[in-house]
């Protein structure tokens, strides 16, 4: 059942929070079984939260998210819940603290239904790299739901949950949202605390919402964002009031390599936008390098971030070993999956003596240039329109043997994480085989509110009568 946060609030008023939540969950178990989007679900935990929620409502608390069912990507921690990161390395690990976003959502009255499937440690674009198995796309179960937040997108797209949380390091919220036909938002770097998110690429990671409409994105982002002193990269920002966006549309060259359906859909939206708003045409050829830069930086950071998983204190631990080194080698060898190992090895390589200057440091320098360049293109009020992904959802197993092809599908998403800008993917249309097609809107750093408001306004104007 698909419903908006506003509708849920009305339902709570009418029929109480318990019924509202249970109504929302009618489809949950069935869908979860069909699509494999969940890694952990416990009815008792849901019951406990409903009881607690009823007490708080009775006490007169103002709970804007009361009744909203929330799914949480399994790399965001809820105290007392398992956090597996869809890895054998962490299977059975119970979190000892709440992520900052979980604290904030709890205060607002949200209840958490399930931990959601993902690519192992958020590395992947298809949720095929999960120790819990692949997530299926609700639009076509022979296809992937995208990744790494595939479970989060599939759960919302199927109507099993009202909203979900994902994490986005190179497109991991926006691409699965596009593949499944839902809304996915990656906020500006620093606006949402990473405290409690298991790090992949620390300088790239952001937590963001996946929903069925743009308004819910705005509601959730206003609750989830805000300064947190437990994350030193957190920013206390006052969003500037900006009016009148100028839409930056891609020239033909910048769409090279996209599926025909994707290009057609893009052009039709571009035309609608031209009719209603001020636009300019730009070239984003330099984006091609962003894939290489992204994989240099992300793998360097993750090779370091995953070093804590050594089998000594928690997580997967080899049963038989001789000495410390053997313990570490064995625990990591059988704990991590192949994609994770590939990126750890790559990251160690780019940071190693003699190569660091050539690869990692140069990547960091180019990253700075990217930011300057994009800032110049966008200016204060520019909003860039791109396809979210060059293709719609692909078949399960289609790309697993070809990591480079998989990496290239991140073309329109990774640059955003490199520069820290906000981006939202919206479902824009379907192709002939009824696969959802996503469009991505991007604006300058710390203009998140402006971006979301503009996209909301654009939807109203360009889709006559709404959806």
């Amino acid at each position: 059942m698909k419903r908006t946060i506003a509708e849920i609030a009305k339902s709570v008023e009418k029929q109480g929070v318990r019924k509202t939540i249970l109504d929302g969950l009618v489809d949950y178990e069935n869908q979860s079984k069909n699509l494999n989007f969940s890694t952990f679900y416990d009815k008792n935990k849901v019951e406990e939260q409903i009881a607690e929620l009823e007490k708080r409502l009775q006490a007169g608390e103002d709970l804007p998210l009361a009744g909203v069912t929330v799914g949480v990507k399994d790399n965001i921690q809820i105290k007392g819940w398992p956090t597996s990161c869809a890895s054998n390395m962490l299977k059975g690990y119970i979190s000892s603290f709440d992520a900052d976003v979980i604290e904030k959502l709890k205060v607002a009255g949200a209840i958490f239904i399930a931990k959601l499937n993902m690519d192992e440690f958020a590395m992947g674009s298809s949720t095929e790299h999960s120790c819990f198995g692949v997530v299926k796309n609700p639009a076509d179960t022979s296809r992937v739901a995208g990744g790494s937040s595939g479970g989060s997108a599939a759960a919302v797209a199927s109507g099993a949950l009202d909203v979900s949380l994902g994490s986005d390091t190179g497109g991991s919220i926006r691409q699965p949202a596009a593949f499944c036909g839902v809304y996915g938002f990656k906020p500006s770097y620093g606006t949402v605390s990473r405290h409690g998110l298991v790090s992949y690429g620390s300088s790239l990671d952001q937590i963001g919402p996946i929903t069925n409409n743009i308004n819910d994105i705005m509601v959730l982002h206003s609750i989830m964002s805000g300064y947190d002193d437990r994350d030193s990269t957190s920013i206390a920002s006052q969003y500037k009031q900006i009016h009148k966006p100028v839409y930056c549309l891609l020239d033909e060259a910048s769409l090279e390599g996209c599926d025909k359906d994707i290009i057609e859909n893009y052009q039709s939206w571009a035309n609608k936008i031209k009719e209603n708003f001020e636009t300019k045409t730009i070239n984003l050829d330099f984006l091609k390098d962003s894939i290489a830069i992204y994989y240099l930086i992300a793998t360097a950071e993750v090779s370091s971030n995953l070093a804590k998983f050594d089998g000594v204190r928690y997580g997967n631990r080899a049963t038989e070993f001789e000495g410390y080194e053997d313990l570490v080698v064995k625990s990591r060898t059988n704990g991590f999956g192949s994609e994770v190992k590939r990126r750890i090895i790559l990251g160690n390589f780019v940071l190693s003596a003699g190569y660091s200057d050539k690869y990692y440091k140069r990547a960091k320098q180019i990253r700075v240039l990217f930011k300057e360049k994009l800032q110049t293109i966008l200016g204060e009020n520019g909003i860039l329109l791109t396809p979210t992904s060059p293709t719609p959802a692909f078949k399960i197993g289609e790309n697993t043997g070809d990591p480079m092809k998989m990496y290239l599908s991140d073309l329109y998403t990774v640059f955003l994480n490199l520069v820290g800008f906000p981006g939202v993917s919206i479902p824009s249309s379907y192709n002939k085989t009824k696969l959802p097609l996503g469009l991505q809107f991007v604006s300058n750093h710390l203009t998140d509110d402006f971006l979301l408001k503009s996209v909301s306004e654009l939807e109203t104007k360009c889709i006559s009568g709404g959806k």
């Binding site: 990473r194 620390s202 410390y324 190693s352």
Partner: protein
């Protein structure tokens, strides 16, 4: 050693790891203080245990302490410095990397002035976190992370020392500096102050440095002396046999006073340093505006106190900590005749500090009010108290703190009699009562003067001004 020094010039560089005196750890709010009474892993949280999803946040006080050291060591403080990850696997290293500094440390360059003259150049001062500890029990090893994440500064000297004495003077001076300014507790038994010693020998006429060996984690000055000595002789022997020194990391064994190889250069880790993406550039602007509380330089202060007439032991005591130094300064402020500072300090050492050992746990200011101590010496200076009655007055004051020294002296008859006629009367009486001795004295047995002085002191309970007694007694004896 003599042979060695004729042919080779030793070069020594030292890295000192010094735990900063802060309430909490470097990147979390766990208590820093570790003691043997703690349960293992009692002072830990998600950050210092390296749990997934936990992020570091800098302890501003630790940064302030590091800046204080850098400033005291004339190191140039970088307004913006970076934290980096030094990556290696070890059971006591929970994150798989240590957060430290490398390319942009908090302090660049600097020098430590040595009390004997000369100075040692510093390469840099960097902030970093300490690792935990491993306890070996039978076949298994247990990890205790109470110490993990405690703040350290690493003070890296240039290869700028050329003798054992110089190296020892350097580490002791750094030790005094950090203790005086309370930058560190520098408790060596607790491992709060550890030294890595880099030693090489080069032929006397060569400008190039020899191949160095690093002796890790030496935690006492005596061990440092022995380790350097052993290492120099070991390298000397190798060179004399025309062999090459292998660049090595070595350990020191205090039981045999020798060093032993830990790993060769070829086995050295590739630490894969990179900027920690969880920590933004460290902006020290606000700390630099704060009071660094470094007005007094203990080495300079020591020189001045020696000049003021204090002996070495007393000077060392009063420059050991800022409290001790401030105490003496407070005494000095109340002292009417500054020439008496040496006497006052010596009096404090013998009559107050060492006599009141049972109260050693008292803060120096609680031990004896400095203005009262100065008052005693002002009274001695004015002839009101003698050095003997001064001790009594001090004792009595110690038992009845709060009273005025003069009142104590008056109430207990400690005031020196200055009245010449009264003194003369008493002396005459003593002479009259001892006619035999007086006769012998006047017949030339002048040694008997001491006998009369003793008698006079007895009668007067030592309250007569000694100089007046001398003057009047001489006059009457020779009348």
């Amino acid at each position: 050693m003599q042979n060695l020094l004729q042919k080779y010039k030793p070069t020594i560089g030292i890295e000192i790891h010094c735990q900063l005196a802060t309430k909490t750890k470097l990147f979390c709010r766990c208590a820093r203080e570790t003691s043997s009474e703690l349960e293992p892993n009692q002072h830990t949280c998600e950050v210092c245990l390296g749990l997934p999803g936990a992020l570091p946040r800098i302890n501003e006080h630790a940064v302030w302490q590091a800046i204080r050291f850098a400033t005291a060591a004339k190191s140039s403080v970088s307004k913006q410095s970076f934290f980096m990850r030094k990556q290696y696997f070890y059971p006591d290293l929970p994150k798989g990397y240590q957060i430290t500094q490398l390319t942009h440390p908090i302090g660049m360059g600097g020098s430590i002035e040595l009390p004997s003259g000369g100075s040692v150049l510093l390469d840099r001062v960097q902030i970093e976190e300490d690792a935990g500890k491993i306890l070996h029990k039978g076949k298994s090893s247990l990890v205790d992370l109470n110490r993990a994440g405690t703040p350290l500064i690493e003070i890296v000297s240039a290869p700028d020392m050329h003798s054992i004495d110089e190296a020892l003077e350097y580490v002791k001076t750094v030790y005094r500096l950090v203790r005086f300014h309370k930058i560190s507790d520098a408790n060596m038994e607790k491992g709060n102050f550890r030294m890595d010693l880099n030693i090489s020998l080069s032929p006397v006429n060569s400008k190039e440095l020899g191949v160095r060996c690093e002796i890790k984690n030496v935690n006492s000055f005596r061990f440092a002396e022995k380790a350097i000595n052993y290492e120099m002789l070991r390298q000397f022997q190798i060179l004399e046999e025309n062999q090459k020194i292998k660049q090595q990391t070595r350990g020191y064994d205090p039981d045999s006073d020798t060093t032993f190889p830990m790993r060769d250069k070829e086995d050295a880790h590739d630490y894969r340093y990179f900027d920690d993406p969880d920590l933004p550039v460290l902006d020290c602007g606000s700390q630099l505006k704060m009071d660094l509380d470094l007005e007094v330089d203990p080495i300079e202060a020591e020189k001045n106190l020696i000049k003021a007439g204090l002996n070495q032991e007393t000077t060392t005591y009063f420059t050991e900590s800022k409290a001790n130094f401030n105490y003496l300064k407070e005494c000095q402020k109340n002292l009417k005749n500054s020439k008496n500072l040496g006497k006052l300090a010596a009096f404090f050492m013998t009559e107050i500090k060492s006599n009141k050992e049972q109260d050693q746990n008292l803060e120096i200011f609680e031990l004896f009010d400095p203005s009262k101590l100065a008052e005693i010496f002002n009274l001695v200076d004015g002839g009101v108290l003698s050095s003997k009655t001064a001790k009594k007055a001090a004792d009595l004051y110690y038992k009845n703190k709060g009273l005025a020294i003069l009142d104590i002296a008056k109430a207990n008859g400690l005031i020196q009699v200055q009245d010449e006629s009264k003194i003369k009367e008493v002396i005459q009486d003593v002479l009259d009562k001892n006619p035999k001795q007086l006769e012998e004295y006047r017949a030339g047995k002048t040694k008997l003067k001491g006998f009369f002085v003793g008698q006079i002191m007895k009668v007067s309970s030592g309250n007569f001004s000694p100089s007046l007694v001398q003057k009047i007694l001489d006059k009457l004896l020779n009348a």
